[in-house]
């Protein structure tokens, strides 16, 4: 029960820190952006804490076990996104003064339709990203404690929505910053321990990949989800009485909920449509999906999706709005690159050790539990249990932190952008959205977390990335252009996913471009926006709206300078400031300027 002892503190601390934020919550701004008073270092810890989801903590190592060393490109793309963000988006986005991405779209282009469309995109990304988080929570808890899958899902949903409904963004900030430090410790310390404890033989083997063809021990595999295995001759399983029984060669439909113990030294059955861990090509540092023969295209496709997707992820952008000004937002992005780079040095260690020690996870498709399954393989005493507990606690922190941010943007999209309302409605939206996500996650146990999260990134890359980049840097963007561009990106990516799931079997580079559509959907969205905007005419105020995003906040206030002597340099006749402010506001700002 040491595992329950590990998860309980994470959950409790999350709730306690969350409660700290409750007292000062009065407005939607308090709730959504913590009243914009978060320092760059705290904010970048929170951004990293939010960003290191189950996909990073567990998923990358799982993908390395399954697909090979090339999967280590995912974290590179995840981190590179923040440099693009730093260069292009962070400061102007914060200077727009918007609360959410749809808010920004409306402020820049003045279209209520665009705002609603952007809110819908936020919902799509939110669902694609949240469902795998809750699913992994259920899966990890069921792997380590033998509880049913739904317990973990409901537990995660309950904790996240309670913390958020009470404390909003302020609570989320402290929770996420705490959880970043926690996750970093829970990831690095066990990695070091595993490396030392595994011994020289395993370490040597880890760097000399060989195909997983024979079980090296009596291996118990539990199939939570059904699978179809191709059984070669001579596969023996250990019966309940301890006797050996040979499996019938040929295809074997394993029903869900089966537990099989394969005997020591028997050949490994193959899984339909999956490459065997350690097979030829596993050691290549490129992503050759399904061995189609286009490793470079596959790698670039993933890099484009993750890098540009990061720039458009609504929950990450929302975090930048909590900075006090554009400069702090930019610093946040730079610090985040450093913090993430430290974390991402380690998933590879779990991946290569996992290939040696727990390759059988590929039979069930649950390679993303490799990280939590490793300590028990290295040490079956107390130390192994303690480290399993630590890693489980870290993994739980990972999906709690990510879900907090995502649930916040989803409820913000519903209650701030689609149906504007007050604080109470925002809190209700949080609980409602969490309930829906839990219901969606319950039947999703069979989905691969990595796939869904990559889809979320692809949608963000082909909708919000062009909208933000062109909105900030191109003055001729029109509302119609933005709407058609976002719609084109959304429709083409979703269509591509549907073809991939339910369509015909494709091969060659077409298959890669359907499974990883970012290389063509992102340019498509950009081109649509540019061409349609060129056909129309930007509004007369468009140039001012764009330039305003680049203006530093800490310039002299026009109210201050009026009372000072440099009034002569200003063309007061064309200034629109006085007309836009009520006398009360003018009185107060004048007092501040004195």
């Amino acid at each position: 029960m040491i595992v329950a002892l590990a998860v309980a503190p994470v959950v409790l601390v999350t709730m306690l820190i969350g409660l700290r934020g409750v007292a000062a919550m009065r407005t939607t701004s308090d709730f959504l952006v913590a009243s914009r008073r978060v320092s760059p270092l705290l904010n970048s810890a929170a951004v990293s804490g939010e960003y290191l989801s189950a996909a990073s903590f567990l998923g990358v190592a799982g993908l390395v076990v399954k697909d090979g060393i090339g999967s280590l490109w995912y974290p590179v793309g995840f981190t590179a996104g923040y440099i693009a963000m730093l260069a292009l988006v962070a400061a102007p986005m914060r200077r727009s003064g918007a609360l959410t991405v749809p808010d920004f779209a409306e402020a820049r282009l003045g279209s209520a339709t665009l705002r609603r469309l952007a809110a819908v995109v936020v919902l799509v990304i939110g669902v694609l990203y949240l469902v795998p988080q809750f699913r992994t929570a259920g899966l990890v808890l069921s792997v380590v404690t033998e509880t049913p899958y739904w317990v973990g899902v409901v537990l995660a949903g309950g904790v996240v929505s309670a913390t958020l409904a009470l404390g909003g963004m302020r609570a989320a900030t402290y929770v996420q910053a705490f959880q970043f430090v926690f996750k970093l410790m829970m990831f690095i310390v066990p990695a070091m321990w595993l490396l030392i404890q595994a011994g020289p033989d395993v370490r040597t083997e880890a760097t000399q990949p060989t195909e997983f063809t024979h079980f090296r021990d009596d291996t118990t595999v539990s199939f939570r989800v059904g699978a179809t295995l191709d059984v070669p001759t001579g596969v023996e399983v250990v019966g309940r009485d301890g006797g050996l029984r040979e499996l019938e060669p040929g295809p074997w439909e394993v029903p869900p909920g089966t537990t099989v113990t394969f005997a020591d030294g028997t050949p490994v059955p193959e899984v339909r449509g999956e490459a065997v861990p350690g097979a030829d090509g596993w050691e290549r540092p490129l992503l050759d999906f399904d061995d189609e023969g286009y490793p470079l295209l596959g790698t670039w496709a993933v890099l484009i999706a993750t890098m540009l997707g990061t720039m458009g992820l609504p929950h990450v952008i929302m975090r930048f709005h909590t900075s006090p000004d554009g400069r702090a937002a930019r610093r946040t992005a730079a610090f985040t690159v450093a913090l993430l780079s430290v974390f991402y040095l380690f998933p590879g260690i779990y991946g290569v050790l996992g290939r040696v020690l727990v390759p059988h996870l590929y039979l069930t498709g649950a390679t993303d539990s490799a990280v939590v399954a490793l300590p028990a393989q290295v040490d079956d005493g107390t130390a192994g249990t303690v480290f399993t507990g630590l890693l489980t606690a870290g993994a739980f922190a990972a999906f709690l932190a990510t879900s907090l941010g995502l649930l916040l943007v989803v409820s913000g999209a519903i209650s701030h952008d689609l149906v504007p309302g007050g604080l109470r409605q925002l809190r209700l939206a949080v609980v409602g959205a969490a309930a829906v996500i839990v219901l969606l996650a319950l039947p999703a146990a069979a989905f691969d977390a990595g796939t869904l999260v990559t889809w979320g990134f692809t949608v963000a890359a082909s909708t919000f990335c062009p909208l933000l980049v062109l909105g900030i840097w191109w003055r001729r963007l029109t509302a119609v252009g933005a709407i058609t561009g976002v719609a084109a990106g959304l429709v083409s990516t979703i269509g591509s996913f549907l073809v991939n799931v339910g369509g015909p079997d494709l091969d060659g580079w077409v298959a890669i471009l359907v499974a990883q559509p970012a290389p063509w959907t992102v340019p498509l969205a950009f081109l649509t926006m540019i061409v349609v905007s060129r056909l129309g005419r930007p509004a007369p105020w468009a140039t001012a709206a764009m330039l305003r995003l680049h203006l530093h906040e800490h310039r002299l206030s026009p109210f201050v300078s009026r009372t000072q002597s440099d009034g002569a340099a200003r063309d007061l006749g064309h200034s629109s400031w006085p007309a836009r402010r009520s006398s009360a506001v003018r009185r107060i700002t004048r007092r501040l300027g004195r």
């Binding site: 793309g77 260069a87 930019r330 690159v337 991402y344 001012a544 800490h554 629109s576 400031w577």
Partner: protein, 145 residues
């Protein structure tokens, strides 16, 4: 535990916050004509630096996979038992990206400082701006005065 914290707004304010928000007609963003040249200068400076940073990032992100596919021999070359190509996708991109991020941050901040108050001595950093621990009650605009 220090005592319970309570909101000390008037009941009317609390009512107003809880009410459904009225969204008035949307108004275009305005820019003071006096600030236009400064905004244009900042925009141009920002664009130039962003393009340079993105070019460097693109060269790293797309060049490294290309190099690794060009020289598969790196898989067999080993340093301390680890294939060079494995180390190359962890130990090269991350330090390079951290360096790139801080390089871009420094250039962007310097550009902003130079354009806004050219008289300020170079290298002086008025730490007051980004410091949010200033606490509530201190209006953000005061930073410049």
């Amino acid at each position: 535990m220090t005592g319970r914290r309570v909101a000390v707004t008037s009941p009317q304010t609390r009512l107003a916050h809880a009410r459904r928000r009225y969204r008035g007609p949307w108004r275009p963003t305005t820019l003071d004509p006096a600030e236009m040249p400064r905004a244009i200068a900042l925009y141009r400076a920002g664009r130039r630096r962003a393009i340079a940073a993105l070019a460097a990032l693109g060269a790293l992100i797309f060049g490294l996979p290309f190099a690794l596919s060009l020289w598969p021999a790196l898989d067999d070359m080993r340093v301390a038992g680890v294939p060079v190509s494995w180390a190359a996708i962890v130990l090269v991109p991350f330090p390079a990206m951290v360096a790139m991020a801080f390089w871009q941050l420094r250039r962007a901040e310097r550009a902003e400082r130079d354009l806004l108050d050219p008289e300020a001595p170079a290298g002086s950093d008025d730490g007051g701006h980004g410091d949010p621990s200033a606490g509530p009650g201190q209006p953000a605009r005061e930073g410049a005065s």
